[in-house]
Amino acid sequence: MTQEEKKNLAVTACKVRMGVIEATHGAKSGHPGGSLSAADLFTYLYFKQLRIDPKNPRWDDRDRFVLSKGHTAPGLYSALALRGFFPTADLPTLRHIGSYLQGHPNMNMTPGVDMSTGSLGQGISTAAGMALAARVRGKDYHTYALLGDGEIQEGQVWEAFMFSAHYKLDNLTIFIDNNNLQIDGQVCDVMSPYPIDEKLAAFGFHIINIDGHDLDAIAAAIDEALATKGKPTAIIMKTVKGKGVSFMENKAGWHGKAPNDEEYETAMQELRAQLAELEAK
C-alpha cells in the first residue's frame, strides 16, 4: 500500500464514520459503537480488498462479505454507499418505514449486502457455506466475515468454526472485532470468551492478532490470510468501540443508542476536524 493509498483510505474511513453518525442520527436508533470500531475494516475491505462491482452487486465471481454482527449495519451501509452501491444521501433513511436500509442487513433489499443477518451467530455459518460452495463450483472468490467479540458467546459460532476448519476452508477469512464491550458491559465481565486467539487456534484456525485501526496491519493480515493454505484464518482485531467520536469511545452505552441533535453536531464537528487534518497530510 502506497502512502497516497493509505492516506486516501484513512480519509475514506473518516467519511464512513460520518456516514454512521448521519445514519443513526437519521434513524434515531441503531448501533453506532460497533459500526465505528469496525469502520477501518469496512473501508479497507470495500475500497482496497474486495473483488466487487457496485454496478453488478450479484456478480457471481465477486468476493463475499458477511456481516455476522449484523447490528453494525450502519457501518456496512456507509461503506457500501460511499463505494457507489447506493446514494449516501439515503443513509439517514436507515430504519425508516419504506427504506431499503433495514435495521439489520437484508440481502434482498440493499444492493451489496451478501447475506441477511442480525440474529447473532448465524452469519459466520452462511459465510462458511459460501466458502464451501466456491470449492464445489470451482470458483476462486474469497469469503470474509466479521463477528463481534460478544457474538462469539453464541454456541453456533463454535459449530461454524469447527466446520470451517474441518473442511479446511482456506478461502474463508474471519475478523473478530474485539472492542471488549457488549450491551451489559465489558465482554470479559459479562461472559468471557478469552483467550479468543488460543481457542480459535485450538479449533484449527490460523491466527493473526492486530490493531484493528491500523490500516497497514489490516493489509498485512489479509495478505497473510490469503497466503495461508489448508485452514481458515481468524484475524482478531483489538479495537475501540465508538472509535473516532470522543464521547462514544469505550462506552458500552453507545452500543445501541443514536446521537441526539446536539450529540450529532458534536460528533460531526469532531469528524470534520479529523477529516481536514487527514486531507491536509
Binding site: 447475506m115 462458511a128 457455506g129 459460501m130 460452495a133 466456491a134 464445489v136 463450483r137 466446520f163
Partner: protein, 314 residues
Amino acid sequence: MADVKKIATRESYGNALVELGKEHENLVVLDADLAEATKTIIFRKAFPERHFDCGIAEANMIDVAAGMSTAGLVPFASTFAMFAAGRAFEQVRNTLGYPHSNVKIGATHGGISVGEDGASHQCCEDFALMRTIPGMVVMSPSDDIEAKAAVRAAYEYVGPVYIRFGRLAVPVINDNPGYHFEMGRGVTLREGKDITIIATGLMVAEALSAAETLAAEGIDVRVVNIHTIKPLDTELVVKAAKETGLIITAEEHNIIGGLGEAVCSCVAEHCPVRVRRVGVNDEFGHSGPGADLLKQFGLSAEHLVEVVREELKK
C-alpha cells in the same frame, strides 16, 4: 392390504436425491450425523463429493445451506424433524425464511411413528412451527411415489421448502398411471358425499382404508390427500366443506397448529362447517413400536371409522 408394497418415505427421499443428483450438478446434500437414518447415505454413495456431513450441529448446517444457496447451489439439509424444525427453528426462520433462501429441508422421522426412541425424538410440532414462517412451503407426502414427486417439486421451486418424511414403511397408494403431483394442490383420492376426511402423510392410507370399511355400511366418505400443508389448497377444502358439510382431519401431528387447524382456519373464513381434528391430542408420545403407537394414539383406520360414525350421529 397384506400384500401391498411398503416403503418408508425417508428411503424415497434418499432415492429421489440420487435421481435428481444425476440430472442436476448444483444439487448438494447436507446431513448432521444421521445419513444412515435419513437415507442421504444413498446419495453419499452415489455422489460423495456433493454430500457434506456437518456433524451434530443442526443450527450451523441450516445456515451453511443458506450460504451455499447464495452461490447457485441447491442444498437439501437433512436431519430428524425434531432438530430441523425444533432445534434449528430460529435459523430456519431468520436465514431461510426471511431471505427466502433456496434451501430444502429434508426432515425425516416426523411424528410418533419414530417409535422406540420415545418422545424426545417424536416431533409432532413441525407443521405448526414451519407453517408460521412467511413464504415457507410445507409438504408431507403420503407414500413413496408422492415423496419422490415432492422432492422433485421442491428442487424445481425457488425458495425454502420443508418436507417431512417418515421412519416407518408405509403402503404405496399412488401407483396409478394418472397420478400427478402439483405442489399446493390437494388430491381427491375418493369421491364421497356424506363426509370428508382430509389427511396428510401416513394418515392418507388409513383414511382410504377407513373409507372402504364405511362404504360397506353405506357411508359415502370422500378422501382428500393434502400433501402440501402450506400453501393449503383452500379451493379443494372449501369444495369439500360445501359438498359434504362435515370434515375430519387426520395427521400424525399435534392437533394444535397442524393440518387440522389449517383446515379450520380455511373453512371458518370461507365456508363454516364442523371440523373434527384427529391427531396427537396435545400430549407427548412414548417408546414402543411405531405401528403400535399409531394405534394407541388413534392414528389408525379403525379409529377414523369410529370417529366418522360418531360424527354422523351428532
